[in-house]
Symmetry: C2
Subunit: 415 residues, 2 copies
């Protein structure tokens, strides 16, 4: 058995891949419409072409005034203002306020050039056609947002290599930036292999299983910002794998193979990957469950990952190892701060020291709060994973977890 001679910890394996890959990545960018950029990664720093707001703006409904004119005003001793006009929405105003003069203004309206505050309408009372009482003294610039206060001209509004969310799209559009440079989606070739594997639409003959990995991995790649390129199902033949990898290597930024599960297939998979370029296979065997037979390679700048054939194992490994690599291929940090769910473990779980285990759990909710309940049965089944809400990790240093312990559940999400 040439494999698994030295099982690396997940952290060591990840580090080895990242180091081998980091220096070789050439990020390519393309220009797309800002409204289509959700989930993409910025390929260029963006600076504000003009300040925001472009004028001193009211943030409440009320009366624009010169703040100093409200000095001393109170409930018992209101100040009297003459209303000299109304600021129209969406237009420049040239209204100039005299002493103890006010202009009606709406949220978002432009302050008259010599006004410097807005009295909230709730703090005023109209006492005549053109006269109001003001019940509170306000300070300069109260209830306003000043020219350039949201962003100054030239200020960075989007750094390079940031994942674009709805709020970034909003910020860019507020500045009229309707086109944006983004990193091209990494193209990820996906190969399923195994003599026993048939397409999902096939009836099963005894001994066969349907291809699941092509689709679960495609979904995961898409969710991580990549573009999946499914290659199809290969028989367990060395020559077929060699041909597939050679073809994919020229057009892909990354290749995922779910290895044939026969002993010989596992044997030649690493050998064929090794032929694809330098430095070649970096990791063969991970001290994890699931995922022990995983292969990591970098061949002439293209990362190639040999995943276990078992769909549950392939998916869990892809979550923890393919996702960081896809981040790297988009210019993002490989380490992410992942949101999680805190819950109480329902049962004891055992693990080997030195090995990292991922256990699918359901989250149950009752009066005592959230509980993480491991999914029973043989856990290396895709249907077990579809009954789970998330995964918990038993780290290498631990030999298990105890019922009643607080655990962090990493959710398995759809979108």
């Amino acid at each position: 058995m040439p494999e698994f001679l030295t099982l690396l910890t997940p952290q060591e394996a990840r580090q080895k891949m990242i180091e081998a890959l980091s220096s070789q990545i050439m990020l390519k960018v393309e220009t797309i419409s800002t409204t289509e950029a959700l989930g993409r990664v910025s390929g260029k720093e963006v600076r504000a072409p003009h300040p925001l707001p472009m004028f001193n703006r009211a943030t409440v409904d009320g009366y624009a005034v010169r703040a100093e004119d409200t000095f001393g005003a109170s409930e018992s001793l209101p100040a009297y203002f003459r209303v000299v006009g109304e600021v129209p929405m969406g237009q420049e105003t040239t209204l100039i306020l005299g002493t103890m003069e006010a202009a009606l203004i709406h949220t978002g309206g432009m302050l008259p050039p010599n006004a410097n505050a807005v009295v909230m309408i709730e703090q005023t009372q109209r006492i005549a056609e053109n006269e109001i009482e003001v019940y509170r003294a306000i300070s300069a610039w109260e209830n306003t947002i000043r020219l350039g206060e949201e962003v100054k001209e030239g200020e960075i509004v989007l750094p390079i290599y940031k994942r674009i969310r709805a709020v970034e799209i909003g910020g860019l559009l507020a500045l009229g930036i309707t086109q944006i440079e983004v990193v091209k989606k990494p193209r990820v070739g996906i190969v399923s292999s195994g003599d026993e594997v048939v397409p999902p639409e096939h009836s099963l003959q005894i001994g066969q299983v349907r291809d699941v990995n092509t689709y679960t991995l495609s979904a995961l790649v898409r969710r991580c910002g990549g573009e999946p390129l499914p290659y199809g199902i290969l028989p367990d033949r060395e020559e077929a794998l060699r041909k597939a990898l050679s073809e994919l290597k020229s057009g892909c930024d990354m290749i995922l193979i779910t290895a044939g599960s026969s002993i010989s297939a596992r044997d030649y998979t690493a050998r064929v990957i090794q032929e694809m370029g330098s430095p070649g296979v970096l990791v063969h065997g991970l001290n994890t469950r699931p995922g022990k037979p995983t292969i990591f390679a970098v061949c002439d700048g293209v990362p190639i990952v040999g995943l276990p054939g078992n769909p549950m194992s392939a998916f869990v490994i892809a979550l923890h190892f393919v996702r960081p690599l896809l981040n790297l291929l988009q210019g993002l940090p490989t380490e992410e701060i992942k949101p999680r769910i805190e819950a109480t473990l329902t049962v004891n779980l055992n693990s080997s020291a030195g090995r990292e285990d991922w256990i699918p759990v359901r989250i149950l909710q009752d009066e005592q709060g959230l509980r993480a309940d491991p999914v029973f049965g043989k856990s290396n089944m895709i249907l077990a994973l579809s009954r789970a809400d998330g995964l918990i990790c038993i780290p290498p240093a631990a030999t298990g977890l105890t019922a009643g312990e607080k655990v962090w559940v990493e959710p398995i999400e759809a979108i």
Copy 2:
């Protein structure tokens, strides 16, 4: 001021909407390809058309045996087996094992009909062409997965009204289910209004702002499983709003309006919504920051939400109120267990008792762990939100949070 007479707590407001809506929802379903179902919600319970696996299968590489023949085997006293064949991958095997006979088998291979266990290859040694030593006694069904053990024929593999993740797609395809009934995407009309609002591609005249809400809300609706139908920008005229709502109501499952910010616009918005059907406006004014001027209505079964015009406020309210309603419109529970990030607050924050505040924060990481650092400046700006990683909540019962306190950050996510 007819509005804000009674400010409801967020929880009361949400409850009122959900109650008014729940009885009126008619979920429509459609059939789509399973591979396209990521993020959709199942519209029908799915049961397994056949068991999985369809045969007793090896989960390791090794030798299929009758477990009882290994009885007493150990390192010092191995059992001797004759190897009578090899199970071909992907095919039925009819090989019958005699006493002390074994068949070479690969992970995923079918057990011979009278075999009931697999000895791992690592626990054997080939000593002659057709003879092996076995160093361990194994129990019945060890290293196998039995017919129907992953799922039995007729067992539920996907409940009705469940969000479909990559793992559900995998489970369905493993069973050959390539088409699936899903709930139709709720169609969500989106209306921006305000005389000062212009499309993002326009140059700004003094006094104008660009439309942001159409795009941030579209992104959010899409992420929550809905189909955004942007209607465009309305002037601050009652008749324009009446026409827009009447047109949208017949083709939408939900309508979002970002209200014009003039006092009169706020006034007639509620009145026009009220005309659209019964029961009409249920909530006018929320005790939240941001989001106070929010309107909730249900008109002849169609929820209509009047959001603040400020893009940051509109987005935060949509996250907390539109998302649960979209869940309801897809048959999902309105309450979700949200994954979050635990961090330490960097500064004191004040709030009014009774009001719920959402504060944008950046997450900083250093030796002491994760810290939640409020984004400075006027926080009701979309660019402030784009500088934040997430939101923290000051609940109605609290009058603030203290520096050093543990807080839960709700991430603002892209995909």
